[in-house]
């Protein structure tokens, strides 16, 4: 069975928020829209987002690293938000594992948001229904789009390709390979939610020389061998 998901490489995320803004742009006009804002140009702007980028400083000065951490619904394989929904508005699709909300059935009781340990769900203050990442379900299957664009808006927007999209149940997919090769991990594994989205851990910094050699770009070499 298919399980679509995102894999986010923390090594290359630069925290530019392009994923968050392109997500908002696509989804406010797409099938999941509008994503309303409150007081967008005022003192305390607030609004509905499916995706937010946070920043953490890890370690102790001077040995610190900045980690940009994009955060959205993880499309858990055992989503705690789904069984608690009293109306059935919250559901997980059998065919591709995407967790969605049917806005026409949602009564806005917020119980699903309480039941999500990741805080991935946000109520739309204007429409009063629960909203969350749809993995751009309205574009990934859109045959009117060229094949290369049938990906979530955040994945296409990412300038460093920090976001990979695919079927994590298919061992041959790019996302499965990335998880296997780079030690992809799930958030808060202690709750048994089995998030489908995974993160690729930040690797220790390489020195410039080592990185250059590793990339095969050392000007002293030809085809990997030292120049005579």
């Amino acid at each position: 069975m298919k399980q679509l998901a995102l894999v986010i490489d923390l090594n290359v995320c630069v925290g530019c928020h392009a994923c968050a803004t392109s997500c908002k742009e696509w989804n406010t006009g797409g099938a999941a829209g509008p994503l309303t804002d409150q007081n967008p140009y005022g003192k305390d702007p607030s609004g509905t987002f499916f995706n937010r980028v946070q920043t953490y400083e890890v370690g102790e000065f001077p040995a610190t690293e900045t980690v940009h951490f994009p955060k959205s619904c993880l499309h858990c394989e055992d989503p705690p938000c789904v069984p608690v929904c009293p109306t059935g508005a919250s559901y997980k699709r059998a065919e591709d594992g995407i967790v969605l909300v049917d806005y026409d059935k949602c009564i806005g009781c917020k119980y699903c948001a309480w039941a999500c340990p990741y805080g991935a769900r946000e109520i739309d203050e204007q429409q009063q229904v629960m909203k969350k990442c749809t993995l751009c379900v309205d574009r990934i299957y859109d045959t009117a789009l060229p094949e290369s664009e049938r990906k979530p808006a955040c994945v296409i927007a990412c300038p460093t390709s920090a976001r990979l999209f695919g079927d994590v149940h298919d061992p041959a997919s790019d996302v499965s390979k990335a998880i296997a090769e780079h030690g992809g991990y799930a958030l808060m594994p202690e709750w048994g939610t089995r998030p489908a989205n995974q993160y690729l851990p930040k690797q220790p910094k390489q020195s410039v020389a080592a990185a250059t050699v590793a990339r095969g770009m050392d000007p002293r070499t030809i085809d990997g061998a030292m120049k005579p």
């Binding site: 946070q54 953490y56 608690v84 948001a113």
Partner: protein
């Protein structure tokens, strides 16, 4: 969590309504067993009316929690998986049973005991549904304990018994001392289990940490940006934004008002006849129970708060 008044009122008012029904049913069983004299029908009639009023008030309050109250009927759909859905079904059924119980006594139906038994079972079922809504969220560790159910039952019964005692004071004074005594015993029991819950929660260690939340094991992590300038649903729904001092005061207030003062007033009322003291005890206890429920919500630390270090 940020306590919502709609949910505080819902859980305290229906708890009172459930406790009142259980108290009346207890009186009827005791009178059938000739343990007490049988009160006049007006006791059951007024009690049922009061209970329905509380349950209706709680139901009304719950609508204010919904973004789309006009769709509330949909909430009965997912009873196979959702405790909230089960509560939505059991609450109206219970209101109907209490109404029938009052009618049975008003018209003098002989089957009143059976209707009362059905209503009592529904009252217990409703306690279970309400408590399980909170217990089943395992990562809200403060709630994820059978003590939550025990507290909901005992606190509801304490206020219901006290209400029944006050009612008896006005319409059937012979019953008042016995009901007040049982109310005192249940209040004391509730004080013990609520105290146990406070002790348990004080020793809780959160299973999730910032490290497990973002998957980085370094012991020193400082949040620099939370992904929103002016806050978001996440920063509003899950933080009560009160000072530690305020939360502590709420705790001492509810320990005093829900348990200590009502116990004192009940003890005094056992020696003095008028129901005024009991009425005061009931009012003080209900205020205490509102504070208790506020504290219940405020104390729960949602793991999503780990992503908003600057607010907590």
């Amino acid at each position: 969590m940020n306590p919502a008044w709609s949910v505080i009122l819902l859980t305290t008012l229906i708890g009172l309504g459930q406790g009142l029904l259980l108290a009346m049913f207890g009186v009827e069983v005791a009178s059938r067993l000739a343990l007490t004299g049988a009160p006049a029908a007006v006791f059951y009639l007024a009690g049922s009316a009061l209970s329905v009023l509380c349950l209706g008030g709680g139901l009304l309050a719950s609508f204010f929690h919904l973004g789309h109250p006009e769709r509330a009927w949909r909430a009965a759909a997912m009873w196979r998986t959702s405790w909230l859905s089960r509560e939505v079904i059991v609450l109206p059924a219970f209101i109907a049973a209490v109404t029938a119980y009052g009618a049975a006594h008003f018209y003098g139906w002989s089957c009143s005991l059976w209707i009362g038994a059905t209503a009592a079972l529904l009252a217990i079922a409703l306690f279970i549904c309400t408590a399980m809504i909170y217990i089943c969220l395992k990562f809200l560790q403060e709630w994820h304990t059978p003590l939550t159910l025990v507290n909901f039952i005992l606190l509801g019964c304490a206020s219901g018994l006290l209400a029944a005692a006050v009612l008896a004071g006005f319409v059937w004074p012979l019953l008042m001392p016995a009901l007040a005594l049982v109310a005192g015993i249940v209040t004391a029991a509730a004080a013990v289990t609520r105290g146990m819950t406070l002790a348990r929660n004080a020793l809780l260690r959160p299973a999730s940490t910032l490290q497990s939340a973002i998957g980085i094991s370094d012991p020193k992590i400082a949040q620099k940006a939370q992904g929103a300038m002016g806050g978001s649903f996440n920063t509003r729904e899950f933080f009560h934004r009160r000072t530690l001092q305020f939360v502590r005061s709420a705790k001492w207030f509810f320990l005093t008002a829900a348990f200590a003062l009502p116990l004192l007033l009940i003890a005094l009322s056992l020696t003095a006849a008028p129901p005024r003291l009991l009425t005061l005890a009931f009012a003080v206890q209900f205020a205490g129970l509102l504070a208790e429920r506020w504290f219940f919500f405020a104390q729960a630390r949602h793991p999503q708060n780990l992503y908003y270090q600057v607010i907590s």
